[in-house]
Each structure stands twice: as structure tokens, then as C-alpha cells.
Amino acid sequence: MTADPIDREVSELKFREPEKGRALADALARTVRRAVEKTGRSPIAVMHVCGSHEQAIAKFGLRAAFPRELDVIMGPGCPVCVTDLPEVDEAVALATDGVIVATYGDMVRVPGTAMSLADARSEGARVEVVYSASHAVELARSTDKQVVFFASGFETTAVATAAVLLKGTPPNFSVLSAHKYIPPVMEIVAEMPGTRVEGFLAAGHAATITGWGIFESFVERHGIPVVVAGFEPLDILAGLLKLVELIRDSTARVENMYPRCVTREGNRRAQEQLWKVFRPTGGRWRGIAHVPNGNLRLRGEWSSVDARQRFRIDAARMWKHSPAALVERCLCVDIMAGIRSPTDCALFARECSPDSPVGACMVSTEGTCRIWSQYGGGYPDLGGSR
């Protein structure tokens, strides 16, 4: 790959400092070349596990600046997308039983086995979009009805749920937790048979909470490097450059390329609150697998605010319905595992679009299909690298 097309394409990136971006992209191209020569493998495949990384990569056209021999795969980094059908079914069952369900906006249209919360709402259920766990608490304070906060998101968002519970909530408030914890799913992906992933780009804000030290035992077990990166175009290029350097040198190590937010220990105060309220437990992630310790559930001490304890949730009644025919052709599962791309799906940008999503990957603003569809049709074209 010559430097010219990279130069041209990077100069079109919306950087404040295009020279820095160009220099990083050039260095990345050279380093990828060296890594391919030294390892004898091509393309070099790395995975990020964050919807916001994918947003930035697509939005700022970074894939056009990636060398052809570097394959940057989006893994299970969209918390909405990996929420499993039975978890959505629980929320739908509660909503159709007359409980007010409050949840983050992206969760409303995520399909369950037979219905989404949006479907339940169109049949008369009360489903409220909130931007924060604290808004859900305020909603409960304003009504006598039961309010269930259907809580999704990774550790960054789970911390906010923990904080509102620790502050105290009204008696008609409870939490249906679909929170997920990122580190365990990296183990699953690293152990997937036939995986080509040689390194991980870890999400900066989740690591702000957990600290980068949490990845050290992962690196030791799997012998592949992890680089923590921020979300700005230069952060991502710098993170990838460091990651490919480590791959080139066959060095399995954790590197923190986001020191303005991430420390080795992380945010201890947030961790204390998180683990005071939640315990990790195994559960299915949609499209991935059963992930040991990948789900965050309320600890026993919090059973009085746990919707699963407060209500008899009859989600099984949803399972008598068969999913819509289109759903059976949806490739979300493979896309979230990083095996296929949105453009491999026959539904993508045809039957499945942001206005009329079939799978969760098209629903969430952090879903790969939604992001790719937003930032231009089949683009980014990964060409021969896949």
C-alpha cells in the first residue's frame, strides 16, 4: 500500500490537527506492513468492544485511512444489541401487566421474542424514555404506580444505577437489570475457535471505572495485547498504532493510551458503589454465548428493589409466539461476534433500516448496522481484507 491514497483520504478527515492524523495514519500503515512481514499473517485482525469507537471510526471516515492489511472488527460493544431476548421479554411482560417501564431510548425498539417495548406501548402499555437512572427515580416520585427501571449498559452506566439505589429510592421504584460487564466477554471472544483477533482496543470510559489493571490477567491468560483508547479520531489512530506495534513485536501487554481519563486502579469510589449493589453472574449475551460473570444482577441485599423479586414476571408467555420471518434472516448474531459485516446481510439497507429495524444492531445508535447505515450505505468497504 502506498502512502499517497492514505494521505489523500486522511486529509479529508475532520481533524482539528490533520498533520497529526496524517502522521499517525502513515505510521500505522508502516507498522501494519512490518507486522505482516514479521508475523506472516495478513490481515492483522484487531477488535474493539465499544459502540462509541465504531461511531467515531465510521463518522470520521477512519476505515478509509486504515491499511488494507489491518482488519478492525467491532465486537460485542453495544450493550443494547447484546441484551438477550428473554431480558427484553421480561420488560415487555411487566409493561403489558400495567407497570410503568422506564428505560434508555435505544431499548424501546429492541425486539424481544415476539414484541418490543414499542409494540407494547402501541397496545396501551406505559413505556417512558429516560436519559438517566435519576430521571426514572423522579418519575416514580411523581406517581403512585409501580415504576420499573429497565437498566441497560456496561459498567459505566451500571455505576449510575448503583448510585441512585444507594441514595435511596421511593417504595414504588424497582430495577430490572440488564446491565453487562465487559471484561468477561473479551475472554469469550479470545477463546472462540478460529478467532483471528490478535489484540483488543479497550473502551476508554469503561476503563475509567475499572482501571486498566483489570486487563493484566486477561493478557497473561491469552497472550494477546490490550490497548485502552479514547474516542477521538487521534485517540483511536494512536491506540491502533500502539496495538499493532505490540502485535508486531509479539509483546502481550496492557498499554494505556487514554491517560487523561484512565488510571491503573480506575475510579475506586465508583467500583465500591458498583459492587455494593451488583454481583456478576453468568448469562447469555445475544449473539455471543453464555458469558460467565458477564451480567450484572442486584445483590441479595437489594432484593426489595429488584423487579425480579418484587414481581412474578411471566416472560414465558412471549415464547409461544414465533419471531417474525425477517428476524430469522437477520445476521446480528454473526455481526456482533465479529464474524461478518453488515454488508454481508441480505436485509441490510433493504428490509432493515434505521426507520424499520429488524435486528438490535440496527436499533441502537451504537449498533454496527445502524452506524454503517448512517454514515453511508455499504461504506466502509473493507474490500479484500475480509
Binding site: G51, Q55, A56, K59, Y131, S134, E138, F154, K167, Q374
Partner: protein, 99 residues
């Protein structure tokens, strides 16, 4: 959902700070942030809670990117996530307040 948005702290009142997000003043909880926060500091907001104090010297580059994102239209997913993060602080003013 993972995108934290930086803002400048104008005032601290117990465990709630008034934070300036690109000209919008919003209340934000300090329950989770692990360092003392004072007026003039920058914080990273995630769903209405500060998760990190950012050194002022390192905030400017980040702020510029978010300014650019906020100038985008509503149907841009990244821009709408940024707006969502700011909206997450919308009504939190009367909540809490003591520590």
C-alpha cells in the same frame, strides 16, 4: 451510551455541581467521581453523573471535538448520543444536594 461528555464546573453544592456544557448550565451528580471537584475543573459526564475529573490542560482538544459533534444534525448517531448525555442532567437539580 459509552460516550462521556466533558463540561466545566461552575459551582459545587454538596454532591451536585452546576456544569457548563457548551453554554448550557446543567446540574450533575458528584456521587461517583473519585476526586474533589471545584469550580474551574472539567468533568466527564456519563448519564448525569461525573465519572472523572479531567485536567484542564487536557480538556481543550476534547471540547473542540464535542463542539463539532453538537453542530451536527439530529439524525447523526454520535451527535444524538452527545445530546442524550447532556439531557441526562436535565432535571436533576432538585435531587440530592447534601453529602
Amino acid at each position: 451510551m459509552c460516550l462521556g461528555v466533558p463540561g466545566k464546573v461552575l459551582e459545587v453544592n454538596g454532591n451536585v455541581a452546576t456544569v457548563d456544557f457548551f453554554g448550557l448550565k446543567r446540574p450533575i451528580f458528584l456521587d461517583v467521581v473519585d476526586e474533589p471537584v471545584a469550580p474551574g475543573d472539567y468533568i466527564l459526564n456519563h448519564v448525569g453523573f461525573a465519572i472523572r475529573r479531567i485536567p484542564a490542560s487536557e480538556a481543550e482538544e476534547t471540547l473542540a471535538l464535542y463542539r463539532q459533534l453538537l453542530a451536527e444534525t439530529d439524525d447523526d448517531p454520535m451527535a444524538s448520543d452527545v445530546r442524550g448525555e447532556i439531557a441526562a442532567t436535565r432535571k436533576t437539580g432538585n435531587d440530592g444536594g447534601s453529602d
